[in-house]
Amino acid sequence: MSTLQIDNLSASVGKEQILNNLNFTLPKGEVHAIMGPNGSGKSTLSKVLAGHPDYQVTGGNACMDGTELLGLNPDEIARLGLFLAFQYPVEVPGVSIANFIRAAVKSRLPEGESIKAVEFYKELYLKMDDLGMDRSFTSRSMNEGFSGGEKKRCEILQMSMLNPKYCILDETDSGLDIDALRVVSEGINQMKNPDRGILVITHYQRLLDYIVPDKVHVMWEGRIVRSGDKTLALELEDKGYDWIKEEVAAA
């Protein structure tokens, strides 16, 4: 039961079918990677799991620790423990990072309970230090005018403050410089633990040098078409996707 388990998931946007009978299981304590060509449906998968209202689920199930996610509101899914680090984080003008994260933490507290401000800031500052974020960032508006790399760090900061059970990181490595990639990867590695499942979506093997995955999956045309261990990523880096596409076409 301690899994994020997806069975025969199909989803569409408008008339277009994007996910086709997708199967995939992420057990707690493991790190999996999904790779795949542009437009194969990786971000769509993450948004469907997070309950994005633009996508219609046309079939299948997605259970998190035994709870069906499909049909729940995005905030319910989030509070159940699914965190999505966005490929394109969204700006929220006028709302400071500190206030934003506070509101998110507060949404998880039982009615009537409030955040202890001193402890909150202590934790926030500590985690910002780890991610190499300047403390002055707390008062900046969420993602407004942030560089690509700053946005990605901020996603990881939120993830670590919210203590999720399952994390999906959608191309968190893209847009990071070499040093930032290392810092952010360390941040993600610190999140690894036996009670948490982590799914990283990436195009590049180099992220997987830092975050060593237990499994690597390849997505193509809305399905997982191949799974393997970390060597699969190396193989893809070497050969590209054509050989997999050909295999799929032949099958």
Binding site: N73, D75, F83, N99
Partner: protein
């Protein structure tokens, strides 16, 4: 996607309507010369005040509705069914148990103190703040500050107030200022002597009673040379209303080098017409700042203004308007530059939710013979769904090459992606909207005194909670 159909608005929210309880003095229904005389008689007023009222009444009768302005909704005001004067209530017949639960909850959520809740819900006619007030009164008296109601002000201190009363806003300014001038009661009259700088804000709260929060309040604040005062009007709790027309007049006089900050946070119920005239006069090097937050009401028309009469005078209007379904906020600012080197700043933010409508109406006047005058105007509108409406009517009349104006306006919407992002972090739709709206007004709220900004934020939370299904 956030579809408009998903957003349900409780139209009854804030419609706290009770039958009027018994009052010792009641001018009856409708307006006539006799009613005006009755009010003046009850107050034992001098002849000059009665004359002032009667003259205003005849102006009111003659003046047309400001039809070239806001909404046709004004035509729905039936002046014949309004009570123009109620005072000195006997014990109201309502008990706390009879107050609806949702109102009690709202008070609870806003953290309104027990005593005030009873007053606001109409359970008690008098808000007992004697202790706090008398302590403060003593301090004020030592400084020579006068802080009284309009009746006492005109009766006991005519030498101070008569000079300015009705001068900043003549009765003939508009139909509603005429109405107020005819039937005014309640409000605050304040005089701050030269050089006295009040550290604590004065609040109408200290002198709260049925009359003070009446429909036709009259306020006059005179800050003598070099003095400083902050005044806070209104309260953030949704006030129980028996009357549907509120028409106040507020006049501020800042003499040379004086500073006046006037703060209003109002949360009217959905049936109220709130038609208020507010204007200040700023002499040389004086500063006047209006901070104005309008939430609720059926129609609010309010354009605080500053007449910059002396060199280097400075005027400022910071306003926030929130219009929910069935509400129209027609607000703005008037800056009349009448001396060189005067500066004015207007920042107006409006939020329209559901079918709520916000309009900004601005006026900036800088005649050509003046030099080195500056105005900055910023209006930002936020639309919460596609049915919302917003209009800006900036009327900027500026002449003379030595003067400068800067005008910026923006309209933004909350995108579905922004809401999804916030929801993905655990906030429900209402919390997400609320956080967004708070972000939108954040830079303005920072200018407010602490306790007001906290209350305002809570108020926004509550408003958003009710507006998102």
């Amino acid at each position: 996607m956030i579809k408009p159909s998903n957003i349900e608005i409780d139209r009854e929210k804030g419609n706290f309507h009770y039958p009027t309880s018994k009052y010792a003095f009641d001018a009856g229904v409708g307006l006539s010369e006799d009613v005006v005389k009755y009010i003046s008689g009850v107050k034992n007023e001098k002849d000059w005040i009665l004359d002032f009222r009667l003259k205003a009444h005849s102006i009111f009768e003659k003046k047309p509705m400001p039809t070239h302005w806001a909404s046709k909704d004004l035509e729905n005001i039936d002046f014949d069914v309004i009570r123009y004067y109620l005072a000195q209530g006997q014990q109201p017949s309502r008990t706390w148990d009879e107050v609806p639960d949702d109102i009690k909850n709202t008070f609870e959520r806003l953290g309104i103190p027990e005593q005030e809740r009873k007053f606001l819900a109409g359970v008690e006619a008098q808000f007992d703040s004697e202790a706090a007030y008398s302590r403060m009164k003593e301090d004020l008296e030592k400084e020579g500050v006068i802080f009284v109601g309009s009746t006492e002000g005109l009766r006991d201190y005519p030498e101070i107030f008569k000079k300015w009363f009705g001068k900043v806003i003549p009765s003939s300014d508009n139909k509603f200022s005429a109405l107020n001038s005819a039937v005014f009661s309640g409000g605050s009259f304040i005089y701050v002597p030269p050089g006295v700088k009040l550290a604590q804000p004065l609040q109408a709260y200290f002198r709260i009673n049925a009359e003070n929060f009446g429909q036709f309040e009259r306020t006059l604040i005179i800050a003598d040379e070099g003095s400083e005062i902050t005044y806070m009007e209104g309260c953030t709790a949704p006030k129980f209303e028996t009357s549907t027309l509120h028409s106040a007049v507020v006049e501020l006089v800042a003499l040379k080098g004086a500073k006046i900050q006037y703060i209003t946070v109002q949360n009217w119920s959905n049936n109220v017409f709130n038609l208020v005239t507010k204007r200040a006069m700023a002499e040389e090097e004086a500063e006047v700042r209006w901070i104005d937050c309008n939430i609720g009401s059926r129609l609010t028309m309010k354009y605080p203004g500053v007449i910059l009469r002396g060199r280097k005078a400075r005027g400022e209007v910071l306003s926030i308007a929130l219009a929910n379904d069935g509400q129209h906020q027609d607000t703005g600012a008037k800056m009349v530059h009448a001396a060189s080197e005067t500066t004015s700043n207007v920042i107006a933010k409006s939020v329209s939710i559901g079918e709520g409508r916000s309009s900004y109406r601005g006026l900036v006047q800088i005649p050509g013979h003046l030099e080195h005058c500056k105005n900055n105007t910023e209006c930002d509108a936020l639309l919460i769904n596609s049915d919302s409406q917003t209009d800006t009517y900036p009327a900027i009349a500026i002449q003379g090459s030595e003067n400068s104006v800067q005008h910026e306006a923006s309209v933004s919407k909350v995108s579905a992606e922004q809401i999804f992002y916030m929801q993905q972090r655990g906030l429900n739709q209402a919390e997400a909207m609320s956080l967004y709206v708070n972000g939108f007004v954040n830079d303005l709220i920072r200018e407010f005194p602490m306790e007001y900004s906290v209350e305002l934020k809570r108020l926004i939370d509550l408003e958003m909670e009710g507006s998102v299904g």
